[in-house]
Symmetry: C2
Subunit: 317 residues, 2 copies
């Protein structure tokens, strides 16, 4: 692996899966040369349609993702997937899950699945996710799917990164008002009620539609639909795919597609800047004798928190 | 309101609710003098027991919080609450909810409830939360309860801030393996299965206990228990409170209480540093002509993302 960034970039552009996977890992680990390679790939990004899919644990997102991959493949489209698995914010460990479930696609060259664990560091997740999305984009995948869990800053970031955000709900998990409360309404371009064969599915759909009506439910001239699926039986998946594709076509027709791409670019630049800043602050803490020394000084009341921050950043005594 | 930071700090320490509420707002808005006031309060913090309570939307956390407040009050303890309501990551707007539900405590001087909305900015939530916790701590509240939704970076931060983390689950929302997958196991000091009168509650409790057994289920010598509540009927709340208090006593007995306080202090310092760095990066973007100018330069391929970040941070052309 003594190839130059230019050679690696060329291999990724040619669709070399092994080089791409290695580059993703190297970007994550900040191996020298990886950022340079990504810099060369940058102008080849901005072509893929990026679709986010989020929902609470147990909503059936992984199964739905699996079905969506199959449906896109049947339409001749190549699909890259980033599955963000916050299984272990503390240990970074991986747990049996999405990977195994999606193994039926593992022999398909038109599908590339990358799982990421939360790092437990501010901005860490976003940066890795964005890098993987960009590598998949540069490789020429037609659709890039980002699967996340729950609703938090990560999901807001994903909504800002994706062209189309799909929010998956299930009956029995709260009602439309809960969805509203959880901030899902601002994120969703499409709602999916999965496990729609459950008895209380109709009520959830009605409540969501009611809440959408009350709140406008229109984003950039797009009326947010509520769809039903039974992912385990592959029911409703084609209709969901049609709706996703209709939303992407709508974005392209109105120019909103470019606006969202630009928002993604802005997020990337901000992330990158933050990351560099965090590195610098870690270095400053190190120069000041390490975190324990600083906390001891705070505990003894020698210095206040704000004065300490100024000292760290400006190098003043 | 032309009081000096010292006067405001004295008023907060004397338990003046109005001054405390104003200080929390001012800290959030970064009104000049607020950080100085907090600096003066800093050495009066580190006394309260901080308890986190988290779970998915619809798990009944708000009702449970309400009941816990009542139970603590009945034991003569004063309770501060930070309810983090991510109702609207984009607009910051507030939605009818926790505040209304907890109004029965509004005339009680032994209870202080503060709702926060997610800001949609990296680190914004954590900083506000930590500030509010510290003000409540300085005011002498015996217990400070932090209520959050779901599992994300915010909840991991809360777990790192709190002495005791309570995770609320409900039947029908997935099983023990889902909890494991969602990273709840690393966060929880206590599990609560709320709505325990539902038919499948036993199954959820059993699965959780099984998963806990497989994974060890012991943190710092504390065996993580699984409790049952029916918050709407105030059933199981006393037993939950007993378990929380037993955990706090365990932490004090083993010295882990101080370790967790120190972890909170470290998080505070890191947040503060990060926030200062973000301010600086925003200023750098402004000096470089604003975000749009930078994105245009990237789009035209004049500069790569990494070179641009170096330019922004080092002021190089």
């Amino acid at each position: 692996m003594t190839r130059t960034p230019a050679e690696r970039a060329a291999a990724v552009l040619a669709g070399d899966v092994r080089t791409a996977a290695r580059l993703m890992r190297d970007l994550d680990d900040e191996v020298p040369g990886a950022a340079e390679t990504m810099g060369l790939l940058h102008r080849h990004t901005g072509k893929a349609d990026v679709v986010g899919i989020t929902g609470n644990p147990g909503a059936g997102k992984s199964t739905l993702t699996d079905q969506l991959i199959g449906a896109w493949r049947a339409r001749g489209l190549r699909v890259g997937v980033v599955a963000i698995d916050p299984s272990s914010p503390f240990t970074g460990g991986a747990i049996l899950g999405d990977r195994v479930r999606m193994q039926r696609h593992s022999a398909d060259r038109g599908v590339f699945i990358r799982s990421l664990a939360t790092r437990g560091l501010l901005g860490g997740l976003s940066r890795s996710t964005r890098d993987v999305v960009n590598v998949l984009d540069a490789m020429g995948f037609d659709r890039v799917l980002i699967e996340t869990v729950g609703v938090g800053q990560d999901e807001v970031d994903v909504a800002n990164t994706a062209h189309c955000s799909v929010v998956v709900l299930v009956p029995g998990l709260g009602d439309g008002v809960q969805a509203l409360k959880a901030g899902l309404l601002e994120i969703a371009d499409l709602f999916v009620v999965n496990k729609a064969d459950r008895p209380d599915a109709d009520r959830v759909v009605r409540e969501l539609e009611l809440v959408l009506e009350l709140e406008g439910g229109v984003r950039h001239g797009w009326r947010v639909p509520v769809l039903r699926t039974v992912a385990t039986e592959n029911r409703g998946v084609e209709a969901l795919l049609d709706a996703v594709e209709a939303h992407l076509a709508h974005l392209r027709a109105t120019g909103a597609w470019q606006t969202r791409l630009r928002a993604r670019r802005q997020g990337e630049l901000t992330d990158r800047l933050f990351h560099a800043l965090r590195r610098r602050s870690e270095a400053a803490i190190g120069r000041a004798g390490g975190m324990d020394t600083l906390l001891d000084r705070l505990d003894r009341g020698e210095v206040g928190p704000d004065a300490l921050v100024s000292e760290l950043l400006d190098g003043a005594p």
